[in-house]
Amino acid sequence: MKELIKHARELLENGEVAAVIGYRQVSAKRTKPVIITDPEETSALVFNEYCLNNLAVYLTKARIKLLCKKNDKVLKLAITAKPCDVHSIVALIQENQIDRDTIHIISFNCHGVAKDFGFDFNGDNLASKCITCETHKPLYYDALFGEVKETPQASDTALARIKEIESMPHNERFEFFKSEFDKCIKCYACRAVCPLCYCQRCITDKTIPCWIETSSHQRGNFAWNVIRAFHLSGRCTGCGECDRACPADIPLSLINRKMSMEAKNLFSFVSGRSLETPTLVGSYNEKDNNELFM
């Protein structure tokens, strides 16, 4: 932690960055995001198994970009990111939402995080994405801290659930999603926490014409959740923040993970892993699998 604080402090003091986006501890098993511009406040920075938020969501916010403008100069923005959050940053760079040169990535060797605040960190309470995680060391970074430790063992229940849903007869699967989407209250927390839901104006906010009914009835909920799944297909990096944020406990990451599995199977593409390859939706190859077209 000392290294992290020292590094963040130096960045701010030397005027290399305008702000550091990081985590601060609020209770034993809970942290929250903090945006620091004063070097004195860097002492609050932490990194541990309760740094659940994917802070990449802040990088595209106009008000955060404004913080970087100082006396006609545009300074960098430092962000503390878990290796999986770096995937989101990569996806944002690939989609031309942020510039690699304006971001200073402070990352960590990571052995996983808890599934939610307040839980003990162990195999039973490991975040779903950490169970199958292959990037304990970030793929891109400007500063790296922390030792590699062993990730607790846990079984991939989410994958088992996906297989189970896949094997359901069509009508049963429809009933499953109907009952899940019925719980949706349309608070759009899933959209708010998603780093890749960066649209200035979301399709659901468009009223003339009204593509997605704002009513939180069955049709409106289906329209919203399905369009979100489509818009994230081949783009979602699997951070699982939508799942955690949902007050109605809808297993949104099952849908996103299933779509990611499809992208991998059909196009050998995994989002947010490489700055060298183009995005899946933004590239076209004649040899692409066309099984999907009817």
Binding site: V26, S27, R30, T31, K32, P33, V34, I35, N53, V57, K61, R63, I64, L67, F117, K183, I185, K186, C187, Y188, A189, R191, A192, V193, D205, T207, C210, E213, T214, S215, S216, H217, G220, E241, R244, A245, P247, A248, D249
Partner: protein, 349 residues
């Protein structure tokens, strides 16, 4: 909505008999609600009832059963020279909620001011009239609870028609608070035994209560003097503009009216939950937005709860349940924010 308090001796009811009453409520075709982890749910089998006073409040409050997240307010048919409006039949089924947390129980009493202010909202009033709240003393509290800072407490009977206090594993002290509660319980009086107020008092007096985190009158004063304070920028930078806080809140009541066409000639007018943290909540047709940035929206949320509602209706628009903070994706804690509404704090966040 009769909320007149009545004086009645305290009763004792066994858990088994309480379940018998619940079974009868269900068999008579009424709706029985019980708190769950995410939401309150309709009980079909009484063995699934949650009567645990130490349970964490569900993530979502039960307001949707009185003020649904979406509902039609009228249907319309268009013809060449005419528009025909068709009224909606409001479902008037009796709803019994068993095990309401004291912080939830008072929600309808707080919201009814708004729904009966310049216009009497028949949808809200009809459902509230048929709503019976059986409150249960609360022995849960965590870092987000602050009922004691907004004039309530884990043993508050406010808003309950009947109030339960667990005496031991199998028995509850039952206080009948309102006429509505009395009317509900009278057919079941055979199940009730006479109770001892001293016994339940010993329990309620020893319940652990959250410390008072702030003085709401000081917050009220600070808000009035600090509308333009730059301190709002801190939380404005953090908040991600979803409506989780408003939608899980037991007393947030903003709604939007929108028309849904089925065809060229028919459609319905919907009343849908809306949240003040959404960017387009105050977006005018002209394109002007008086709350164009997040700090102004968060300021509105706090002012509405702790100043404007107090001005207009004399009550704080908050029950201290802490749901908004517990569920906030970026852990914005309203108790922390409001506690810091004073001059010696550098920034609100």
């Amino acid at each position: 909505m009769t909320q007149r308090s009545i004086q009645m001796d305290e009763k004792i009811i066994s858990r088994v008999d309480l379940l018998n009453i619940c079974q009868d409520v269900i068999e008579k075709g009424n709706t029985l609600l019980t708190p769950g982890v995410a939401d309150y749910s309709v009980v079909k089998d009484v063995s699934n009832l949650n009567l645990d006073a130490s349970a964490l409040p569900s993530k979502i409050s039960y307001k949707s059963y009185v003020f649904p997240r979406t509902e039609p307010v009228l249907y319309y048919k268009r013809s060449k020279n005419d528009v025909q409006l068709i009224d909606v039949n409001i479902d008037s089924k009796k709803i019994v909620i068993l095990g309401a947390k004291p912080c939830d129980a008072n929600s309808l009493n707080i919201m009814k001011h708004l729904f009966n202010w310049d216009y009497s909202d028949e949808f809200f009033n009809m459902r509230a009239k048929n709503f019976i709240v059986i409150g249960l003393m609360c022995s849960h509290f965590d870092e987000y609870c602050f009922c004691t800072s907004v004039g309530s407490s884990p043993v508050s009977e406010k808003g309950s028609d009947i109030f339960l206090i667990p005496l031991d594993e199998n028995n509850y002290a039952m206080k009948i608070i309102t006429d509505k509660g009395k009317e509900f319980i009278t057919p079941y009086s055979g199940y009730l035994k006479s109770g001892d107020e001293n016994r339940s008092k010993r329990i309620t007096e020893n319940v652990k209560q959250p410390d008072v985190a702030f003085d709401s009158s000081e917050v009220y004063k600070w808000l009035g003097e600090n509308f333009e304070s730059p301190k709002w920028e801190g939380v404005g930078n953090l908040c991600l503009s979803c409506a989780q806080c408003a939608f899980v809140c037991p007393v947030c009541h903003c709604f939007d009216i929108t028309d849904e066409d089925y065809s060229y000639t028919e459609g319905r007018r919907m009343k849908n939950w809306d949240g003040c943290q959404f960017g387009n909540f105050t977006l005018h047709a002209s394109g002007h937005n008086p709350r164009d940035i997040q700090s102004k929206r968060y300021r509105q949320r706090v002012n509405h709860k702790f100043r404007y509602y107090v001005n207009k209706f004399g009550e704080i628009l908050c029950t201290g349940c802490g749901r908004c903070s517990r569920g906030c994706p970026v852990s914005v804690d309203i108790k922390e924010i409001v506690s810091n509404c004073k001059n010696d704090q550098k920034e609100l966040r």
